[in-house]
């Protein structure tokens, strides 16, 4: 039966293999290109935009534009990479269960001398193996690419799904979910629609709420110092969250706040600070600090630290995989009860 | 013995109103009476019949059993079903019944024409003598 499951899906799997190869080629070539651009920009003469000599200003500015102009390209590639896993999971899941149920060809397999569970196991293993075989190289490539393209800190939502093992976990989970929903809904179109909704809802939820509950949230306070150049002085922040963190909130909050303030509280704090700044004159570090003290506020960042990256990945992935086991069991139960 | 040419080619008419097994029996009987099948000839195996016409094998079994019952055929275990040597007589017996029926008819017509027994016998004798002279 494993051969049959493979034979039924081999064209789909083949297409995804081609797409995976293309994606990897795209990532590698663009990653290498960006890596060299950044290397140029970070080194002399541009030094990442600090202390550029007047002569090199035009050169560095064009290099800067080039490197930052690739941002939309990077987002596009990262979207493709994420969609790849999700689409593969959906397509394999739908062709495995829902479309066979809809077209009633299950009657052929289920009247031979094998149990429905064995049939499901064969289909599942072919799907899982295909996903893993294709996504592992993809994951490895994109974990590297996240660094090379500097699309953002790996713990931030733009890069986070691409790094680590989540590309594979997502694809596997969507595959298992689609099979479960296919056994429940028994029609291909509605199954895809429901899966898409679930994907959107889950990703919104996880980014907004879910992920932040899986690891501890750190806080860091920012203080200000005055920097004067000639007759121009400004307040420069010091402290705060590390640059490679995922910042959940950065702004003013009453001293002693341990949770991210709500919108109303944020507005109130902002109003108090702006009133204070306007009356005493801004652009001075000491003024900022004294305003903060007077209003009993502090400039605080709530963030998820980069060193929690793997813990977050493992916990989130583990959560999904546990759900997958339950869904798989549910699929077995559903299939046994279907009267065709 | 060559199986390539079956000794009899059966035909089935599903609309004739006659049960299929009876149709087979009648066709064998006709074949024997006409001399197409003779004593010792082998009837096609059940499988051969099924490949000739689309018929239930049980029906063929039934027809062959009926033929055995009537004495037209006999089953030899491991070899097949064969026409009995007496079959000609049995079929002939049927043929003789047909002759008797037509003789009865002729007799009725002779009587209607006004011939009595003596005249009929004389007629017959002249006919037989003629035959003997000729042969």
């Amino acid at each position: 039966m494993t051969w049959v499951a493979w034979r039924q899906q081999r064209i789909v799997i083949g297409l995804f293999a081609v797409a995976a190869v293309l994606l990897i080629w795209w990532a590698v070539s663009s990653g290498l290109h960006e890596q060299s651009l950044w290397h140029q920009y970070l080194g002399p003469p541009c030094h990442n935009g600090r202390g550029v000599s007047y002569k090199k200003l035009a050169f560095c500015r064009s290099l800067y534009n080039e490197v930052h102009g690739l941002l939309s390209h990077n987002y596009l590639l990262s979207d493709f990479a994420q969609f790849f896993g999700l689409v593969m999971g959906v397509v394999l899941g739908v062709t495995a269960i829902a479309s066979e149920l809809e077209r009633k060809t299950v009657r052929l397999a289920w009247t031979q001398s094998l149990t429905r569970t064995r049939w499901l196991v064969a289909k599942t293993s072919v799907g899982l193996v295909s996903i893993v075989v294709l996504i592992v190289p993809l994951s490895v490539t994109f974990s590297w690419w996240v660094g090379a393209s500097r699309i953002g800190p790996r713990i931030q939502p733009t890069a986070y799904p691409l790094a680590g093992w989540l590309l594979g976990v997502y694809a596997v989970s969507i595959f298992i979910l689609t099979m479960f929903l296919g056994a429940l809904i028994r029609r291909a179109g509605p199954t895809v629609a429901v899966v898409v909704l679930v994907i959107i809802a889950t990703s919104l939820f996880m980014t907004a709420e879910g992920r932040t509950r899986l690891v501890p949230i750190h806080t860091a306070t920012t203080t200000f110092r005055t920097v004067t150049k000639g007759d121009f002085s400004t307040a420069v922040p010091k402290g705060g969250a590390p640059t490679n963190s995922w910042i959940l909130f950065s702004g003013f909050a009453p001293i002693g706040t341990h949770t991210i303030p709500g919108e109303a509280d944020q507005r109130r704090s902002d109003e108090r600070m702006s009133r204070c700044e306007s009356t005493s004159g801004a652009n001075s570090g000491t003024v900022m600090n004294s305003c903060l003290r007077r209003e009993g506020l502090r400039d605080v960042s709530f963030y998820v630290a980069d060193h929690e990256f793997w813990q977050l990945q493992l916990r989130e992935g583990g959560l999904y995989l546990t759900l997958d086991l339950l869904l798989f069991g549910g699929t077995v139960v559903l299939l046994r009860r279907i009267r065709v | 013995m060559s199986e390539r040419h079956p000794s009899i080619q059966f035909r089935l008419d599903p609309r004739s109103g006659v049960a299929p097994y009876r149709q087979l029996v009648e066709q064998v009987r006709l074949a024997v009476a006409s001399g197409q099948l003779r004593g010792g000839d082998q009837l096609p195996s059940v499988r051969e019949v099924v490949s000739q016409i689309t018929i239930n094998p049980n029906t063929v079994h039934r027809a062959y059993r009926e033929l055995e019952h009537e004495g037209l055929a006999e089953g030899r275990p491991g070899l097949g079903t064969f026409i009995t040597p007496r079959a000609g007589i049995v079929a002939g017996a049927v043929g003789r019944d047909i002759l008797i029926d037509s003789l009865r008819d002729w007799m009725a017509r002779a009587r209607a024409a006004g011939l009595d027994d003596v005249e009929i016998l004389e007629l017959l004798g002249r006919f037989l003598n003629l035959q003997r002279v000729v042969s």
């Binding site: 060809t105 | 049960a19 099924v50």
Partner: protein, 307 residues
């Protein structure tokens, strides 16, 4: 193979889809070693019964056994002894014929590879052709070959010859009869074509509006059913001692299709033999809503059966 066991035993089987009953109070006993025909109009419940027997679902009411076992999704061993051919002759369209045979081998415990290949060659079908390029007759034959190569004890065929042209139908039934001749396989098939029944089947089951109205040996059916006709002036009531299946009374003539279980002695009737088609149609027209006619035969005499 236990030849005295019934291949299919249904007692009061009922199957419901939503609120509609596709089968109701279905009681059938099909003996082994026979080719049985299941006849009835569309929607009568034939496919439902066959699919239940193949293990694709469970009855809501009553009990059903096939080859002495209860069919169901977990009874894989029973399914190795039963070959099922769906009405739609399901195959995987993108597979080649050879790959369909490989499918059969991969999903069945018993599989005769050589027989399958020889059937396909005998039918003149290219083993490398893709299923979607075959004619409907060839598809039916490939689907039937899948069933036959399993070497089953029982074949369940849902309208195997429907929509086939006469030549394809002949070939299909030929293939089937060869299998029966060789292995003594029991067959239950559903059909519209009465002509197939007469030459190929020995057992007749009539389903009408989700109920069984007849379940008997074909010879017995043909031998026991008669038309009784008489002028209305001489006979004013139904003939006694027989089960009336259908009656046609006009101002001049009364005609009854009856089943005789005992020698008929009432005089004054003209007795003719109905064709199988007439018998089946009569049962289909009158069968719905009647009490079980087998029971009615017990209470003979008087008003000639309840109606």
């Amino acid at each position: 193979m236990n030849s005295t066991q019934n291949v299919l035993e249904a007692r009061g089987v009922g199957k419901r889809f939503g609120l509609t009953w596709a089968l109701r109070d279905c009681t059938v006993s099909i003996p082994a070693g026979k080719v049985a025909a299941l006849v009835g109009p569309n929607g009568a419940g034939k496919s439902t019964l066959l699919r239940l027997a193949a293990g694709l679902g469970r009855p809501n009411e009553g009990s059903l056994t096939v080859l002495g076992e209860v069919p169901g999704h977990e009874n894989a061993r029973l399914r190795s002894k039963v070959g099922y051919l769906d009405q739609e002759r399901l195959l995987y369209p993108s597979f080649r014929v050879g790959e369909m045979l490989r499918f059969g081998k991969a999903t069945n415990a018993k599989w005769d590879e050589r027989m399958a290949a020889s059937y396909v060659t005998q039918l003149g079908i290219d083993v490398d052709a893709r299923v979607h390029s075959l004619s409907s007759g060839q598809k039916a034959q490939v689907a039937l070959t899948l069933c036959l190569a399993k070497q089953p004890e029982l074949l369940i065929l849902d309208e195997p010859a429907a929509t086939l042209d006469p030549l394809a139908r002949e070939d299909l039934l030929q293939l089937l009869m060869q299998q029966v001749a060789q292995n003594g396989t029991s067959v239950v098939l559903s059909t519209h074509a009465i002509g197939d029944i007469v030459s190929v089947c020995e057992y007749l089951i009539i389903l009408s509006r989700a109920r069984v109205v007849l379940c008997d040996d074909l010879d017995y059916v043909l031998g026991s059913h008669r038309f009784l006709t008489a002028a209305t002036s001489t006979k004013s009531s139904e003939p006694p001692g027989v089960t009336v299946i259908e009656s046609r009374v006009s101002s001049r003539e009364a005609s009854y299709l009856v089943r005789m279980d005992a020698p008929f002695s009432d005089a004054g009737w003209r007795i003719t033999e109905p064709t199988l088609e007439e018998i089946v149609l009569a049962y289909l027209r009158e069968g719905a809503g009647r009490p079980d006619l087998n029971d009615a035969a017990q209470s003979s005499g008087g008003d000639g059966g309840s109606q």
